[in-house]
């Protein structure tokens, strides 16, 4: 009976996937899996041919999608047949959808390796059905506080999943993720050497993080990305290792090169954020025995899906978009650092909005106070534009606290793309950076096309 129910779930999922492919291509990364799980709530557990030793989950706050996609590229370059959720549908239904596509009509998974990006909050549910023998934790930081509350809540969820025989791949330089090493017998640590874009956080109002073991302050020698870097606890001495198992070293941003244990690797995404994704992926690929030459070849031509950096034209202006996740200070800080690294005069557009992840929607902007905007203000920003019909003034107030005079901030209390772009068009300067959500960026691109069309017409 159980077997029949599973097969019914599988076929329903396959039919749904087929229908979506025919009728609404590009959609439906969750629907087939949702349907299968509705019919058989233990669908993942009932799949045949799964093996924890050949199942890798990538979880954590930031970098899951990039690491998973980079790793998939490496394994495929090495000739692996993969079951992977490339589109980032990382909840249990999304993972089920990906597996349905790689499962025979009789329920056997046809893949050499199951590689899944897994949402950290739902990991106990997913891993309860499909046990990963290999678990990568990219980092555990503040994110989506309306759902996650605080990092320690997510930390507890990960602890539930980790078994003594799980092989862990842990960020050596992020204190919370790194501390999970005590839970498993085999741990592979990955990290990034101090490099040209490493930074300090000066000032009397700077904060770090509490030690996951003793709650005393952690001190970072230097930051490679926000709250990630070589560290030591001021209380119990818990510290990052000076020699993680996989250390991305000799970082050369200009020529797109780094090395691991002397082996050279090219990289196309020259930002500190990506270096940790490269480091995690190289660590896992090496642990599975992939040759350095194959890994390097995959690094060389890797193209990220749903990139963090895009651009579009608006009259004489070039707008460079930097993707961020709201309620996630690390991604906002990375965006700020990226812009601040450009010494040319520039306009910065800040399109924060109310949080619409879950009901009730709400107007949280407090995460902006975890970030340092001062370095942005010190980098030749001629004009700021804050837009949103709910929190534009909050964005402007945050800038004022970073020392930006009010008269250099243009406030547009609207979400209307055309209105925002018209206001932007009135600002002097052609070098524009835009920080906002992907959804808002896409609306602005559509509005820009509309404006260009109207001008031509």
């Amino acid at each position: 009976m159980q077997r029949l129910r599973f097969l019914a779930a599988l076929w329903a999922g396959k039919l749904a996937a087929l229908a979506i492919r025919l009728l609404a291509r590009g959609r439906g990364t969750n629907l087939p899996g949702s349907l299968a799980l509705k019919i058989d709530p233990l669908f993942l557990q009932h799949l045949r041919g799964t093996d924890p030793a050949r199942t890798v989950f990538v979880t954590g706050t930031n970098g899951k999608s990039t690491t998973t996609n980079l790793l998939a590229h490496m394994f495929e370059r090495a000739g692996y047949r993969l079951a992977v959720n490339r589109q980032g549908a990382n909840l249990t239904p999304g993972i089920a959808t990906s597996l349905i596509a790689h499962t025979s009509p009789f329920g056997r998974v046809r893949a050499d390796l199951i590689l899944m990006e897994a949402d950290e909050r739902f990991l106990p549910i997913t891993a309860g059905q499909l046990r990963p023998g290999h678990l990568c934790v990219t980092n555990l930081q503040k994110d989506q506080v309306q759902r996650n509350g605080a990092p320690d809540i997510i930390y507890d969820k990960l602890r539930q999943v980790i078994r003594r025989d799980t092989v862990l791949y842990l960020n050596n330089e992020e204190p919370s993720a790194g501390s999970l090493r005590a839970l498993a017998e085999r741990t592979v640590t990955f990290g990034v050497e101090q490099n040209d874009k490493s930074f300090q956080k000066p000032g009397p109002l700077t904060t770090t993080v509490p030690c996951p073991f003793c709650s005393q302050p952690i001190r970072f020698d230097v930051y490679n990305v926000d709250n990630v870097g070589p560290f030591c606890c001021t209380g119990c001495g818990y510290a990052s290792s000076p020699r993680p198992d996989c250390l991305v070293a000799d970082v050369d941003y200009e020529n797109g090169r780094f090395s691991v244990d002397g082996d050279p690797y090219p990289f196309g995404y020259a930002t500190p954020y990506f270096l940790y994704c490269y480091s995690a992926a190289v660590a896992i690929a090496r642990a599975f025995g992939l040759p350095p030459a194959v890994i390097a070849s995959a690094c060389a031509d890797f193209v990220n899906i749903g990139g963090r950096f895009e651009r579009f034209a608006l009259g004489d202006k070039t707008v460079q978009y930097i993707r961020m996740k709201q309620e996630n200070p690390e991604t906002l800080q990375s965006a700020i650092n990226h812009i601040a690294a450009d010494p040319a005069p520039k306009i910065v557009v800040l399109g924060l909005g109310e949080i619409r992840d879950d009901y009730p929607y709400y107007t949280n902007t407090f995460y902006t106070y975890d970030c340092d905007f001062e370095r942005l203000e010190a980098s030749e920003v001629t004009r700021y534009l804050c837009f949103s019909d709910t929190v534009c003034y909050d964005s402007a107030i945050r800038l004022r606290y970073a020392g930006v005079p009010e008269e250099r901030i243009c406030i547009v209390p609207s979400n209307d793309g055309r209105e925002v772009l018209r206001a932007l068009d009135r600002q002097q300067g052609s070098n524009v950076y835009l920080i906002t959500l992907l959804r808002v960026f896409e609306e602005l691109v559509a509005a820009a096309k509309g404006l260009a069309g109207a001008a031509e017409g």
Binding site: Q146, A150, P217, D358, Y369
Partner: protein
Amino acid sequence: MEQPCVNVLWMYPDSLHLHGDRGNLMALQRVGALLGISVRIRRLERPGQTLPLDWADLLLFCSGELRVMPALLTGLRPQRAELAGFAAQRGRVLAIGSAGTLLARETRRLPPHASFEGLGLLDMVCTERGSVYGDDLWFRLLEEDPLELYGSQIQIVDTALGPGQAPLGEVLYGRGNDGAGAEGARREGLIFTNALGPLLVKNPRFAQRLLARVLADKGTPPMQVPADAAHGMEDAAFALFKRFTVGKEAEMARDGVKKPV
């Protein structure tokens, strides 16, 4: 004439900094400047350090992970009597968000975590929620001059006030302590609120009132009163917030969504 000053002791900034809380310190400095007050900030870095209560006028505890609270309390318990005396006689203590668990009688945690006793300076019991509740929060202070405050709320624990414990305010929108209409708590110089934002950034007039009262405790009035225009952007932000919040429940009803509790 010497510029009056307020000494702010920033409690455990690396452990209690969950929700952009350092903005509160920035706000105190800015509002202090508008009042002609010098706001001096000292960090108390490590649990167990002696509280410099002779120096401090205002203690600020911000929100943090529940896992750090027992360690902080281990350091605070031996100084409970001094802290109670400080709040009763000459100082102010502001606890925001989950830092309320430090001042509460008890925090009941979900398994596998152990519940813990707080300092019991406010008569309230905190109970860890099974799910996080995040929303806007808008409330009115229960004072003669009833200022309206607002912010966000990330509720990890619900708070029940004891029978003799006064709330800080009444909820106009949001959950407050436990959804029953009361927000925060106050006793003598102790104030607890669930409002994040950062609270003092979003509500500069509350920061102004807090600093003025600290100075009054010391027998020194502020040197100047800021013009309303100094808070123009904050007032505009509050106006957008009100419009959004008022429309929010209608939007949820339209979308057929029941408000989570």
